[in-house]
């Protein structure tokens, strides 16, 4: 470690000005700069075609950047073949070798490294113990369930202690319950072994569950890199606000800006005060973002006179077990959702006129969509 560096966790991976184009016309990844620190769990999150998988493949060495350089532990690796990078990878469909047993699959990275047989066997055994599959060591991948195959793929990617582990939508093929269980297992493994993980998914709840930091990709550009709670609470633009969690959008025009807050005249009528996050200034159009759980429904004629108080018409009230959802028509948005306590939806009648209120700090003025 260089003496001059004082940061406690230096970047293990550094993307520097990375661009990637497949056809010479369109950039799939546009000018990516991203640092991943040692021991971090970073998720690349985005819709399909956003460039997240391409970024992962460039890191793994299966795609070559069109421009820019990738550093792994301060060494440029753009032209290093994948097998020399010492990066473990878990693939979308596991990619377990079908002609080898579970034990042979896990032993593969050790045997290509010419590790002594005794040590390799010991490592394989402890890896099998880690995934609780000692009894299935001599089965073939085809004889295992999806969840078991996923565990084996994980063990195989970890058994040679790589400096970095990549996971490409590893839980995509599993059902919901198993997926949630595996998310926790992967998270625990990460914490216990202190490994650095780069994880790709399009599932935002998966990203929120596991990550230390999430890089939200859209259209080849990283929109925001932040901790999960920061992404949810402080999205920098409409895309991130919309992609992470539920979100109500109201279109309007900025009337006046006062430090961190601004007055916005809604296109559907009414004026609200919002936090000025990403607006061009007075007169610019904006999209307001309000989370459903930050909104309160007040009955018609209530005397409270908060700053943000908009008339609404009840469209629908849905019971969802642990909570209820009211669908309202607010300022021209017919799918304005409000999260309620279960039971609170009983009193709402279709077509009933009510008011919704929310605090100015819970209403974000973002770039227009």
């Amino acid at each position: 470690m260089e003496a001059g560096m004082v940061t406690p966790a230096p970047a293990l991976v550094r993307f520097s000005g990375i661009q990637k184009s497949y056809d010479g016309e369109h950039l799939v990844v546009k000018n990516l700069d991203l640092d991943i620190r040692k021991g971090e769990f970073v998720t690349l999150l985005g819709p399909s075609g956003s460039g997240k998988t391409t970024t992962l493949m460039m890191l793994a060495g299966f795609e070559v950047p069109t421009h820019g350089e990738i550093y792994l532990a301060d060494r440029p690796i753009k032209n290093m073949p994948p097998h020399k990078r010492d990066i473990g990878m878990v693939f979308q469909n596991y990619a377990l070798f079908p002609h080898l047993t579970i034990a042979e699959n896990i032993a593969f990275p050790l045997s290509v490294r010419k590790m002594s047989r005794a040590e390799a066997q010991e490592r394989v055994k402890s890896a099998l113990r880690m995934i609780k599959m000692e009894a299935l060591a001599h089965r073939r991948p085809g004889q295992l369930s999806g969840g078991q195959q996923q565990r084996v793929a994980l063990a195989r990617a970890l058994v040679f202690n790589p400096q970095l582990v990549l996971m490409d939508e590893p839980l995509g093929a599993l059902d919901k319950r198993l997926r949630e269980q595996m998310q926790l297992e992967i998270k625990q493994l990460h914490e216990r072994m202190g490994i650095t993980v780069v994880y790709v998914t399009h599932d935002q709840s998966e990203a929120l569950t596991m990550s230390d930091r999430i890089a939200v990709f859209n259209d080849g550009v990283v929109q925001q890199i932040d901790r999960p709670d920061a992404l949810y609470e402080h999205p920098v633009n409409s895309f991130v606000a919309h992609f992470i969690g539920e979100n109500n959008v109201l279109a309007g025009t900025v009337e006046a800006v006062d430090k961190d807050f601004c007055r916005v005249v809604l296109a559907g009528g009414g004026t609200v005060t919002a936090r000025a996050v990403n607006i061009a200034g007075a007169g610019a159009s904006t999209s307001l973002s309000v989370r459903p759980e930050r909104i309160v429904i007040v009955p018609d004629g209530s005397s409270s006179d908060g700053p943000n108080r908009l008339p609404a018409k009840v469209q629908n009230a849905i019971y969802l077990g642990d909570h209820a959802l009211a669908v309202l028509d607010v300022a021209g948005n017919g799918e304005f959702m409000v999260k309620l306590q279960p039971g609170a939806h009983d009193s709402l009648r279709h077509g009933e006129s009510v008011f919704v209120t929310f605090r100015p700090e819970d209403c974000l003025a973002l770039d227009p969509v």
Partner: protein, 420 residues
């Protein structure tokens, strides 16, 4: 729920259920059978029947029995140690007389001549010179006077051996074996012992062609399996192109290309690489080239289908786990293509074993394969017994190979191709 409790509780309803199930199953089976019946009948008549006929002909030996019935009966009790007694000679004389009257001497003569060269002359000269049935008690002397061969023990053992109705003679001959005068199995005389080397040659050519097909076909199949669909379809058309032209045309095309004044020799001469035309055809080289070309698609297609099933993710996974490309290929890709290699090799090898037209047209005398001789004995010399015996040996060898392959594939599935 256990079977016992089920039987106990529902004993009254179970029997009708079983019967109904059986009835339903039977209807389905009958329908299925009816659907495949035309094919079954077709196969029975065109495949199973002829093969059974061929196997039967390789042991069938009734010509001598039909022409010389009394002799065969008289020799049945003969121990073969000395010359047979007067009864046998009398029976032979009587048989020959009868055979001459019905014009069947040549049939027996042909069969006996296979076993003992010159027997045709013995029998026909005897038939010609035997004016009448000899007086009782003089048959031995009369026949011995007409042809001294009748005083030889070997002449008589030959007739006894050929007495049928079944014989191992042809099968032994196909393996370069024969029975000596004492009935023991011994090696055939060197001028007749050609079949073992013929089988060996057939297997060597087939093996060379299989190896060439594998070496040439593997990269092509790999390209087919990995190229983008548009280009791989085009390549596939080139692979299948040979199937759309006749075998004879393709073989003749090789003659045009490879002959001493052919395209290849002319080009090499024009380029100044050679002065004298190379001998590229009517030898082993020409046979291997032409057969490899003809059989290549049979190797490429099974290889292609096994490679198509291998996800590119496996090679990526191997690379990410630290395997250099060659290691990844040898340990991950190649083992997964083994079923395709096995199927393609077996197919090409078995097809090559039976090849006839191509070696006949582009091979020299030393490159003719077993099927050439089978055809020769069938159509030219009408020695159907030997032709069938050669066919039976070839069939047996092929079946053994298929069996070994089946065992290998099964073993692969149970224990796995690679062991730590």
């Amino acid at each position: 729920m256990t079977a016992a409790s089920l039987t106990g509780a529902n004993a009254s309803t179970e029997v009708p259920l079983k019967r109904r199930l059986r009835r339903a199953e039977r209807t389905r089976q009958v329908k299925a059978l009816a659907l495949v019946a035309p094919l079954l009948v077709f196969l029975l008549f065109t495949f199973a029947g002829p093969i059974a006929g061929m196997l039967w002909r390789s042991v069938d030996d009734r010509e001598v029995r039909q022409v010389l019935p009394q002799t065969v009966a008289a020799l049945a009790a003969w121990d073969g140690k000395d010359l047979p007694d007067e009864t046998a000679f009398a029976a032979l004389a009587s048989d020959i007389q009868a055979a001459r009257a019905s014009g069947t001497v040549a049939i027996a003569a042909k069969r006996l001549n296979y076993a003992l060269n010159g027997f045709r002359t013995i029998l026909t000269s005897t038939a010609r010179n035997l004016k009448a049935v000899p007086e009782p008690g003089t048959a031995k002397e009369t026949l011995g006077r007409i042809n001294a061969a009748w005083r030889e023990r070997a002449t008589w053992t030959t007739i006894k051996d050929a007495g049928g109705p079944i014989t191992g003679f042809y099968l032994l001959a196909a393996l370069d074996l024969t029975r000596n005068v004492d009935g023991a199995i011994v090696a055939a005389s060197p001028d007749q012992a050609i079949y073992r080397s013929l089988f060996a040659r057939t297997f060597i050519i087939s093996f060379s062609v299989t190896a060439l097909c594998l070496i040439l076909g593997f990269p092509v199949a790999y390209l087919l399996a990995t190229l983008p669909p548009g280009r791989s379809n085009l390549l596939m058309i080139f692979v299948l192109l040979p199937f759309w032209t006749s075998l004879l045309v393709r073989t003749c095309a090789w003659i045009v290309l490879l002959q001493s004044k052919g395209v290849v020799n002319d080009s090499l001469h024009w380029l100044g690489i050679i002065d004298e035309p190379l001998r590229l055809i009517y030898n082993r080289f020409g046979v291997c080239v032409a057969m490899t070309h003809v059989l290549l698609p049979f190797m490429i297609l099974p290889l292609y289908s096994s490679m198509k099933a291998i996800s590119p993710a496996y090679m990526r996974a191997a690379a990410s786990l630290g395997a250099p490309p060659v290691t990844a290929f040898l340990r991950i890709y190649l083992p997964q293509t083994l079923p395709g290699i096995g199927a393609g090799s077996l197919l090409v090898f078995i097809l090559a074993l039976g090849y006839y037209i191509t070696p006949a047209l582009v091979g020299g005398a030393a490159d003719q394969m077993i099927s050439y001789f089978i055809a020769l004995y069938t159509t030219e010399t009408a020695n159907w017994g030997l032709a069938s015996a050669l066919g039976a040996v070839l069939l047996l060898a092929t079946l053994l190979l298929a069996l070994v392959y089946g065992k290998l594939v099964q073993g692969q599935q149970v224990t796995g191709g690679m062991k730590n």
